[in-house]
Amino acid sequence: MRTSEAPPSYRAFRGLSAFFWTEVRVQSHESTAMATSMVVQGVLLVFVFILDRSLLPVAFLGAIIFSMFTMGQRLLNEAAYIRIDHKVNELYLASPLTPEAYFLGMAAGVMFVYLTPVVILFVLAEAVVGYALPTVLLLVGTGMLVWLFSASFGYVFSTFFRDNRAIWAYASIVFNGFGVLPPVFYPLSYFPVALQPVALVLPPSAATALLQVSIGATSLPTGAIVLAAGALVAETVAMFLFTIYWARRKVREA
């Protein structure tokens, strides 16, 4: 009889792969949302193209980083929608699927689907600008870190609300505020000097600062580069670990 069997030992990411594919299947129906995920980036690129084409190498990198950053907003919306509207989170969380696998599976599923327009944008950037391999590798690395930070932040943020409409308003302010206002789409040197250290510790602008250095669009002392890289890695790791803790804690407050 099954009830006499001991349950399997705890594995932190049990069920991750299956839940990832579930989320991919769910998200892949949102073709309109996928297309419109590039609206802000597209508009800003058009502005840059009209106003100062020499900034296109910076703007393309910023557009890609911004795209990775706003995936956190999509995760936030998805996590809140599932929890508040569908309550189907209870089906999954009261099961062998671990809370951390639930979070990471959802985050990775959203990212996988919304990566398609980002890849198209990257191909366009390569065709127009043609980045060197080290820059491309740096773009992949920083892009993943920015995604992991924003997905973690978005998941935690989603747990504070009981009403989807309130979430959408605040999420838009947070993600557009941190993704557009700091020097993500434009060179760090255009940002007020006194505020540049702040930009270097915000994940999206820290990532773009490093990328801008790699293409020679911005020059930074070694200390500033270390600060940007260190902040990006440390904040991402810290936010991810906190989210794992938070996901486990909040599952008991359904």
């Binding site: 009889m1 099954r2 009830t3 006499s4 349950p7 399997p8 705890y10 049990r14 069920g15 299956a18 839940f19 594919w21 579930t22 299947r25 769910v26 998200q27 892949s28 129906h29 949102e30 599932i82 509207d85 569908h86 309550k87 189907v88 209870e90 089906l91 999954y92 969380l93 009261a94 099961s95 062998p96 699927l97 671990t98 599952v251 008991r252 407050e253 359904a254």
Partner: protein
């Protein structure tokens, strides 16, 4: 430690909401569910049924008390309990952009079942819930009842040792409800145990081996449906429509219950003739029927199950 499917002892749950006084949803609830039993929690909205189910399914921490799932402390060690349970959440909806087949299959895969087993069980659950015709349609295009059947199919397909079902047949037509009942009976025959909440007293009557009546966070009664019905004090009920003024006239026959529009008298069969004679003399419109869980609930709680707080 006990190896019973569920043992809850003196569970209390107090909700603290900012700007509002603390609310005690459970005030010391003790419930035991034995192997292969189907147990129903009956109660009005806000009685504490869903809070209990959430604590039992590891989704909520109790303020005090203990709860064990197959001997595992579900509060302190939920990771041990979760593989043994499956839950139909109240008002839960499937993913709108999955088909019923995809919903059931992918859920089984997240629980670690192999592709082959997941496929087999998915097909069976889809058939049991009468979802064959819509199994490949996105859930967003389905009716509310079909979505609810998808949720139930998802959970019964797990064949988990302990199932929690919070209002599992809500929004379903009578045929679908019967299909759910039959599927749940089959699962208990195969070895599963289940705890369900329901507003449908007929469902609780035909489906559950034992019932708990909960009101304001307390267990008021516990027993089989027959035991609860017997506790009312008679086997027949006489409902007098449009009448609330003659309660005193019938009090000597047994329990008298009244609501806004009618009077219900519980009467032993040997005194039915006597009561009917009075009703005819007073020109009262009466209906005679067997005592149901509704009367047991009314007697225990003092109000109908459909009355809100």
């Amino acid at each position: 430690m006990s190896a019973e499917p569920l043992v809850a002892r003196d569970l209390r749950k107090v909700y603290h909401t900012r700007g509002a006084p603390p609310t005690e949803a459970l005030s010391g609830v003790s419930i035991e569910v034995r192997s292969r039993e189907r147990v129903a929690l009956l109660g009005r909205n806000g009685a504490g049924k869903t809070t209990f189910l959430k604590i039992a399914s590891t989704l909520l921490r109790p303020t005090s008390g203990s709860i064990e799932i197959f001997g595992h402390d579900a509060d302190r060690n939920p990771d041990r309990a979760r593989p043994l349970i499956a839950v139909v959440p109240q008002e839960g909806k499937p993913f709108f952009h999955l088909t019923p087949r995809e919903q059931v299959y992918t859920y089984l895969r997240t629980r670690g079942l192999s592709r082959e087993v997941a496929q087999t069980r998915t097909s069976k659950a889809i058939k049991q819930m009468g979802l064959e015709e819509v199994q490949n349609r996105l859930a967003i295009t389905l009716s509310g009842g079909q979505r609810q059947r998808t949720m139930v199919a998802t959970v019964i397909a797990t064949e988990a040792p302990l199932l929690f079902l919070d209002e599992p047949t809500i929004g379903m037509d009578p045929f679908a409800r019967r299909a759910v009942w039959e599927a749940l009976r089959e699962l208990t025959r195969k070895g599963s145990t289940m705890l369900l909440t329901t507003h449908y007293l007929d469902e609780a009557d035909v489906l559950s081996d034992r019932l708990y009546i909960i009101e304001r966070g307390l267990v008021l009664m516990e027993g089989t449906a027959e035991e609860l019905k017997r506790s009312v004090g008679g086997t027949l009920k006489v409902t007098i429509a449009g009448e609330t003024q003659h309660a005193e006239l019938f009090r000597s026959f047994g329990t008298v219950m009244s609501d806004a529009s009618s009077l219900t008298v519980i009467v032993p069969p040997d005194r039915l003739g006597e009561l009917m004679a009075i009703a005819v003399r007073e020109r009262l419109t009466t209906t005679v029927g067997p005592v149901t869980l509704e009367e047991a609930f009314m007697r225990a709680v003092g109000r109908s199950i459909n009355e809100d707080e």
